[in-house]
Symmetry: D2
Subunit: 185 residues, 4 copies
Amino acid sequence: MSDTIKILGISGSLRKGSYNTALLHAAQELAPPDLQIEIGDISQIPLYNADVQAVGFPQAVEQLAGQIRAADGLLLVTPEYNYSVSGVLKNTIDWISRIKNQPFAGKPTAICGASMGPLGTARAQYHLRQIGIYLDIRFLNKPEVMVGTAHERFDAAGKLTHEPTRKFVGDLMVALRDAAQSAKG
Amino acid sequence: MSDTIKILGISGSLRKGSYNTALLHAAQELAPPDLQIEIGDISQIPLYNADVQAVGFPQAVEQLAGQIRAADGLLLVTPEYNYSVSGVLKNTIDWISRIKNQPFAGKPTAICGASMGPLGTARAQYHLRQIGIYLDIRFLNKPEVMVGTAHERFDAAGKLTHEPTRKFVGDLMVALRDAAQSAKG
Amino acid sequence: MSDTIKILGISGSLRKGSYNTALLHAAQELAPPDLQIEIGDISQIPLYNADVQAVGFPQAVEQLAGQIRAADGLLLVTPEYNYSVSGVLKNTIDWISRIKNQPFAGKPTAICGASMGPLGTARAQYHLRQIGIYLDIRFLNKPEVMVGTAHERFDAAGKLTHEPTRKFVGDLMVALRDAAQSAKG
Amino acid sequence: MSDTIKILGISGSLRKGSYNTALLHAAQELAPPDLQIEIGDISQIPLYNADVQAVGFPQAVEQLAGQIRAADGLLLVTPEYNYSVSGVLKNTIDWISRIKNQPFAGKPTAICGASMGPLGTARAQYHLRQIGIYLDIRFLNKPEVMVGTAHERFDAAGKLTHEPTRKFVGDLMVALRDAAQSAKG
């Protein structure tokens, strides 16, 4: 019997009705049975300031770092603001990267994102991939899930209703499970 | 007689002893007499959240937006964290970009940055350039000022002491003045 | 009476039936009356080799460089191959950049591109923008013209038939004319 | 007993005295005993043209594709021209990517590069990483080998003499061997 693979999912948007958070929930729904996605909370992480760090890491950072460390893999769901990842997500990464033995290293990681425009966060995703190099994040190359015209693909309750997109998200979760399983050895 | 050109400078680091903030001060010191650099404060800008925005823009965002609007040009000083701009700076840009008639549009803007590594924030600067496209920021192409091995170029009091770097920063300020003057017409 | 603005257009695809070359022809058709677009030929430019350069620049490079120098602005039409500009276009730029007083410097330049996928060469265009920084190309920030699903927007004869795209291309040509006129002083 | 790992190395510069080709030779010299680096020849690959492809792939492309397919991993050595990979290297990739069941897919791949400037091809390397995503190239995240001020690190005969750089190159080859071995299973 194969063990359950544990994934930590993070949405880079703090808006309650965020399409990206909705996409994260869709991933939970569409994941294969042996993939379990927990959601990390980044809303309490303050602006990064090395002077604050010198006094001690904020509780919310320590907690998220622990969750990342405990996970077999990550799912980073990024909105695209101004042709890049949200400052909120980047700020979270900046904090976590300062933790001793930073927990991103070697972690199999899938990316996806949703936007109302046609490009579906493509620009943000490629920036995110560069951000992960030094951190040694192991991003899946494929599939790339870029959900454009999000307002037509989610219903008013935030449910992903667009069938081809549901298929892509499910495929991404299978690929993430396989990568995490393989890394686990 | 030529009017004074007013520049708003923003440092993407909140650390008190930041090399990037020190670089911003160096730019103030090395600017030509007809270029005046005011420093914008981003330390009070909260994490971007569209739900918060719906209630009203934070005071710190409104104030910075007003300062940007009033300026003839901008100087963005970015640290490089994890191969991109700091989340703190990106978060600031994300807020300002949501202001009605966002004030970055058409603004002549210089970039510089300092890091302890050899690349001097190169990776962050190219990300910043992409971030500015939709916002219609008018970045100077040259000179590119990337201050590597910063700990050897500033003294303990945060003064930029490395002569070639002082020359580059001065040249950048002259180029920014010329671009801002030309945009002013 | 205003003078005619002369633009040199370059397509980064050598295929006869190329959508990108077709897009360049559409730009010629849709340009305002005072904007004239000549097309540069890159098909005879060999692979860049500094040993060849040491003997002398190839005739095709010299000729294109002369056309760039004589133009008031440029229109670079780039296909997207493997998430970046075509090697063929990049190779052309590599040669031209070695010419003494390289002619790209300060040149107002518009970008567009066509692809069969949904992103319309977005990834290639952002790479091209970075390629142009050191060369001091003055890219327009807007409008960004990314023609996705090209096979549905051009007819069998290579005519751009999709009205909204025709409008975008026309707008880009107006913006290019204005930038070139302004640079001409 | 472990089998020898076979790597195909490609230099993106055609110049005989190229620092990048010299770096590739250094990698051959500094590789661990069970890593063997063959060098691929890209000098005979013509400019990419889909009309030519329709008639048949050039011999030089077929040959290189076969060498890539036969290798356990790749070493891509890229010069930086105009803040990106050389057009010559990109053109090679464009051709190979069109081969049926393109051979880059899943291939463990190391990147390095040399330049006379201080950044050591950093900008080119990040572009190359984006170029490889769709091709499903499996780039090592670390170590990143960026050889700046190359003219001070190689001697007149093209031998890499700078000890710290020799160490980095050796480390990269060990990491590549490990990744290729692990992928081989």
